[in-house]
């Protein structure tokens, strides 16, 4: 029997306007990689930063912990701990000139360019849910990847959609 298609954790479409788009990318592969303090090195991406490596996006999300997002060929020591969380975390992409303003309505962090430049990554409480957020611009336009526990996916997606619909972004 062939493996069935991946079921999206959200059942509603996101906004697709020029100012802001919200897309569910949950089916994209997501591998969490961790190293022990006395173990082999992990990917050469610093904590708090993200960089493309071998076709994937590698994110230093916590000390000695990385996300490897997307299909790619990232050379890693097998002694590192690798857990496939493709099914465990939903992944959304929030893109557009209004993306930062939308985030400002649901999260208290400073999303300005100097503090959260392209290629930066952080954990944050977004709409009261813990997320990992990566600034991953598209063609010079602000774009954020948000990773959240799959069970919160529909809630967070709705919260972001609602934020995108706030009066100042309409």
């Amino acid at each position: 029997m062939a493996e069935p298609p991946f079921e999206s954790p959200v059942s509603t479409p996101g906004p697709t306007g020029a100012a802001l788009t919200l897309i569910d990318e949950s089916a994209s592969p997501k591998l969490v990689v961790r190293r022990f303090p006395d173990g082999p090195d992990g990917p050469d991406v610093a904590f708090g930063r993200a960089a493309p490596v071998g076709g994937a996006l590698v994110v230093g999300i916590r000390p000695d912990e990385w996300w490897v997002l997307g299909d790619g060929n990232v050379d890693m020591d097998p002694a590192l701990t690798m857990v496939d969380l493709t099914h465990g975390r939903a992944q959304f992409r929030l893109t557009g000139p209004a993306a930062t303003t939308a985030l400002e309505t649901v999260c208290s962090l400073d999303w300005s360019d100097p503090m959260m430049p392209n290629g930066a990554a952080t954990s944050a409480s977004v709409a009261k849910v813990i997320c990992d957020v990566v600034r991953d611009d598209r063609d010079g336009v602000a774009s954020y990847l948000l990773l959240v526990d799959r069970s919160f996916a529909q809630y967070l997606f709705d919260a972001l959609r609602d934020a995108a619909g706030q009066p100042s972004l309409r």
């Binding site: 079921e7 100097p114 967070l156 609602d162 009066p167």
Partner: protein
């Protein structure tokens, strides 16, 4: 219906007016239609329509008319529709708006409670404290009566919830105040490269220029255009209501379309305080009579709204603004009956009225020399209050300057700068220059703060350049124009218009010993009303100084606290975030009529219509339940057995690959923290399950031990609760069903025994694991499949098992079955005092292990003397099988009210046809066969019996091991 200009109070068109005469707007006032123009405030429209009395005072219910004609006007707080406490001097009229007075009964014209005015001498400050303190037992009665006199508007409980946004911002500079100095500061800061928010209380930028002449307005327009061109974020009709630690600045924004107030939580690198000055009333007899107004109110009404506030005026002026107001009145065709010059020692002593009640408008003004002048308008221009609130909140203590009769900043912290009228006087150019210098300094300092923040975070690029030096303050100070100290005349009058506190009240309080400014404030409630000191603080201090025979500087001032302006509860609440979690099967549950229940943050199917039938189907056929919320932790590394041995009370070093074991976790005090099973998938890879509500706690618990006590252990813990959709297949036909969807796993009892785990493919989905355990006590297979395929597997099971009678079952059926089986639930059958021995599972407590969390306490808890006083979890059955004792029912000693325990879980068992319960009881009645007395809600007592085993059904466990 009153036309906007029907009674001669609306002036011909003026170049300075902000109203649109092409857009008449009709609204109602106290039930009567009123027409104004677009741009009118409620106050200006009512004044134009000839309405002099717009409310009643708090305590004496004296008729009140406009005083300041702006947001701070204490006399014009009205009800708009179902919205109470609306500032009529600020709120613009809208078509159909229903406006009415507050604090009146039965009507504004005839207010019964105005009788209080007659008894004024008996209602002095402190009246309530003195009168209603004793006897103390009557306070509830007093409270109910006094509540009837509570001021303010009314909120209809049926009012629909309004929508409130919330926003976080991190600007370089927040400028509080959009007058000329504030605009200049914002402009210069933005031109220097700072990200700037300019917050203006009024709908229009410009400050006092907006009620000036055409030249003033031209300058304001020019500055505003430059501000907007420079990229400043302008928040008009918004107020900085508070400044907190680290320049956490609260901004309430009222200008959003389609939304109520919005709270902006801004973390400003530098805050510029430029609120201007607030005009101060004068204390004299009759100073609250309709027709007594401040000079700013006159200029606002005439210049902005083209409304005449009266026809014959006395102007009491002590400054150029008052003189300018006299000119404005003359230009508007209002006769100046007398110009009283406060700089020359002249004064007013009283405002007399023409009649009683509602018609009590000024008709004559008694001057200090005893003469009386006929007039229907008395204009006061005797000085200013510096609204130092935001500076106070930053730790600044303002300093009084007697030469200018107002307070000035004492020395705010480095990241707070003041400019504009609050800092001094001068020409418009001088104010603008000071604003520019302030903006420049703010941008420079914000740059240094930004550098520090970038250096502190790992997210920003590595910061190579050294921190620039902290810019010094080299601004030229503004001059200070001399101003006479004019606070009170020879007569007494109101000091606090909001609270009906007179100068006589303040002096009486001082004579009773309440002579510090903070004490007199609290005793009299002066400065504690809606105006919050904007108009009355300086006069309060001045009257107190007079009573004490000291200077104002010696008396000092009260501390202004947030909020600077009122904020709605809706704005404070903002967007309501209530995160909820769902499994990947929840859409199916919704489509198939499941009744949802909120369990923690999880939305779960409680049942699909008949939980008792669901139980019977599981006991007789096979059922499936979505148990995705079951907490799951992925444990990897060679030291996992050590971690398990540390967290659980039992032993884990010998668990084989493919094995599953139940464990109980205790906190360091021996109290049960959580429980669950853990299975070993490979040599170094385990999956731990926790209770649904305990997943996060157990993860943190494990990380705490690993990071603080055992950092040398090689274990990585990863939460994977929703990486897997978890489905429990339970019932005598469960093996038959699972066999139909599983590939590569021998499900025979010999190959896959109870408490074992296997990995394989389910319904075509690889990377699944399953174990033979179950909460229901039935033969069970718990399938854990990658969540992106969870719904597929759920539907595959239903399709494959139709002929086996497979049906979904919900949480309620599971609760019944686990109770039938005697499985306790941590947090329900245990509590915050339940140590592991109290669960009756002492065999799981291996004190011969070297160490585990809670071991020292548990060693003691297992001693006989400790056991003697600790309750036990036991199974209980009532003598009458039809009675289901409610959970939390008390178990008592017969013939007394002594509590011996309580029912913790209770249901009717469809399997046994009777009620079954778990409970906690004292050891003396915990032995099997002990007879208990259960007290039901309502007081009835019923007999019950302690059972031999926790399990009411299948105590030998034959079903689940089948």
């Amino acid at each position: 219906m009153a036309r906007p200009d029907s009674n001669g109070r609306r002036l011909p068109s003026l170049p300075t007016e902000v109203i649109n005469r092409n857009e008449p707007i009709t609204f109602s006032w106290d039930g009567q239609p009123i027409t104004g123009y677009q741009g009118d405030t409620i106050t200006s429209a009512l004044t134009a329509a000839g309405v002099d009395v717009m409310g009643r005072s708090l305590k004496y219910h004296r008729p009140r008319g406009l005083l300041t004609a702006d947001y701070w006007d204490p006399n014009t707080i009205v009800q708009v529709g179902d919205e109470p406490n609306v500032r009529a001097g600020h709120r613009r009229i809208e078509a159909g708006m229903e406006v009415g007075p507050q604090n009146v009964w039965p009507s504004l014209r005839f207010d019964v409670r105005a009788v209080n005015d007659r008894f004024g001498p008996f209602l002095r400050a402190g009246f309530y404290y003195r009168t209603f303190m004793r006897p103390q037992r009557l306070w509830p009665v007093y409270e109910r009566i006094l509540a009837q006199f509570a001021p303010g508007g009314e909120v209809d409980p049926e009012t629909p919830h309004s929508h409130h946004d919330k926003r976080y911002a991190h600007p370089d500079v927040v400028v509080a105040g959009g007058g000329p100095a504030g605009m200049a500061a914002a402009l210069t800061a933005a031109q220097a490269g700072a990200q700037v928010m300019l917050v203006e209380h009024e709908p229009l930028l410009g400050g006092h220029l907006r009620w000036g002449d055409a030249d003033d307005i031209g300058i304001a327009d020019e500055l505003e255009a430059a501000v907007r061109d420079a990229g400043v974020e302008v928040l008009s009709n918004s107020t900085v209501t508070g400044r907190y630690e680290d320049n956490w600045v609260a901004i309430v924004q009222r200008s959003l379309p389609l939304s109520g107030e919005r709270l902006i939580k801004a973390r400003a690198k530098v805050l510029v305080v430029a609120p201007g000055l607030i005009e101060r009333p004068y204390v004299f007899a009759g100073n609250d009579r309709p027709g007594v107004v401040l000079s700013g109110a006159v200029r606002r009404l005439v210049n902005m709204y083209a409304v005449k506030p009266g026809s014959r005026a006395v102007v009491f002026s002590a400054n150029p603004e008052g003189d300018a107001t006299a000119s404005v009145l003359e230009q508007a065709g209002i006769e100046i009956a007398r110009l009283v010059d406060g700089r020359q020692g002249e004064t007013v002593a009283a405002a007399h009225g023409s009649g009683r009640g509602i018609a009590h408008r000024v008709s004559g003004v008694e001057l200090g020399d005893g003469t009386t002048v006929d007039a229907d308008l008395l204009v006061i221009a005797v000085g200013w209050t510096a609204p130092t609130s935001l500076l106070n909140m930053a730790g600044d203590r303002p300093v009084y300057d007697p030469t200018t009769a107002r307070f000035f900043p004492g020395g705010p912290p480095d990241n707070v700068l003041a400019t504009g009228g609050i800092s001094g006087d001068g020409t418009l150019d001088e104010l603008v220059d000071h604003g520019r210098a302030t903006g420049r300094l703010a941008a420079e300092r914000a740059g240094v703060v930004a550098h520090r923040l970038r250096t502190l975070t790992t997210r920003s690029r590595p910061v190579e350049d050294p921190e620039p030096p902290w810019p010094g303050d080299h601004r030229l100070p503004l001059t200070r124009d001399p101003h006479p100290e004019l606070f009170r005349s020879s007569t007494h009058g109101l000091v606090d218009f909001s609270e009906d506190i007179s100068s006589k009240d303040l002096m009486a309080a001082a004579s009773e010993g309440y002579d510090s400014v903070e004490l007199v404030k609290r005793f009299t409630t002066a400065t504690m009303g809606p105006a919050q000191g904007k108009l009355e603080t300086v006069n309060t201090v001045a009257v107190l100084a007079e009573a004490r025979g000291e200077s104002i500087a010696e008396v000092g001032t009260t501390v202004w606290r947030p909020p600077f302006a009122p904020i709605t509860l809706g704005a404070l609440a903002g967007r309501v975030f209530e995160p909820t979690r769902v499994s990947s099967i929840q859409p199916w549950h919704n489509r198939h009529g499941a009744t949802a229940i909120l369990a923690g943050q999880w939305i779960r199917p409680d049942h699909y219509g008949d939980p008792q039938a669901e139980v019977r189907n599981v006991r007789e056929n096979v059922g499936i339940i979505d148990v995705t919320p079951l907490g799951k932790l992925d444990l990897r590394g060679p030291d996992v057995p050590h971690l398990l041995g540390l967290l659980y009370t039992n032993k884990w070093m010998q668990l084989p690959v493919g094995g599953v074991r139940y464990g109980m976790m205790c906190a360091e005090d021996g109290v049960v923290l959580d429980d669950g099973v853990t299975g070993r998938l490979t040599d170094d890879h385990y999956i731990m399950t926790t209770t649904s509500s305990g997943a996060a706690t157990v993860w943190e618990w494990a990380e705490m031990w690993l990071q603080t006590e055992r950092p040398d252990w090689h274990v990585h813990v990863t939460p994977v609760t929703t990486a897997y959709t978890s489905i429990n297949v339970a019932g005598p036909r469960s093996r038959q069903l699972v066999e139909r969807v599983v590939d590569g796993i021998d499900l025979s009892p010999e190959a896959f025994a109870y408490m074992q785990v296997r990995r394989g493919t389910v319904a075509g989905v690889a990377q699944c694991f399953m174990w033979r355990i179950g909460f229901t006590g039935e033969l069970s297979f718990e399938l854990h499949v990658p969540a992106g395929h969870g719904l597929h597997v759920w539907e595959a099971l239903l399709d494959a098992g139709a002929d086996l009678g497979v049906q979904p079952f919900g949480l309620e059926a599971q609760r019944i079955m686990r109770l039938e089986k005697g499985h306790f639930i941590v947090g329900q059958d245990t509590d915050a005092l339940t140590t592991a021995p109290s669960t009756g599972m002492t065999g799981l407590i291996k004190t011969d292990k070297n160490d585990f969390a809670g071991r020292p306490e548990l060693v003691w808890a297992l001693e006989p003397e400790a056991r003697a006083g600790a309750p036990l979890v036991v199974a209980i059955q009532t003598t009458d099988p039809t009675i289901v004792p409610p959970e939390a029912s008390q178990i008592v000693r017969p013939g007394t009210n002594e509590i011996l325990g309580r029912i913790t879980s209770s249901r009717f068992s469809p399997t046994l046809g009777r009620s079954v319960s778990l409970g906690q009881v004292q050891p003396e009645v915990a032995a099997p066969g002990s007879v208990l007395t259960i007290q039901l809600i309502g007081g009835d007592r019923i007999p019950a019996r302690v059972m031999e085993h926790h399990a009411h059904v299948d105590p030998e466990g034959e079903r689940l091991r089948g």
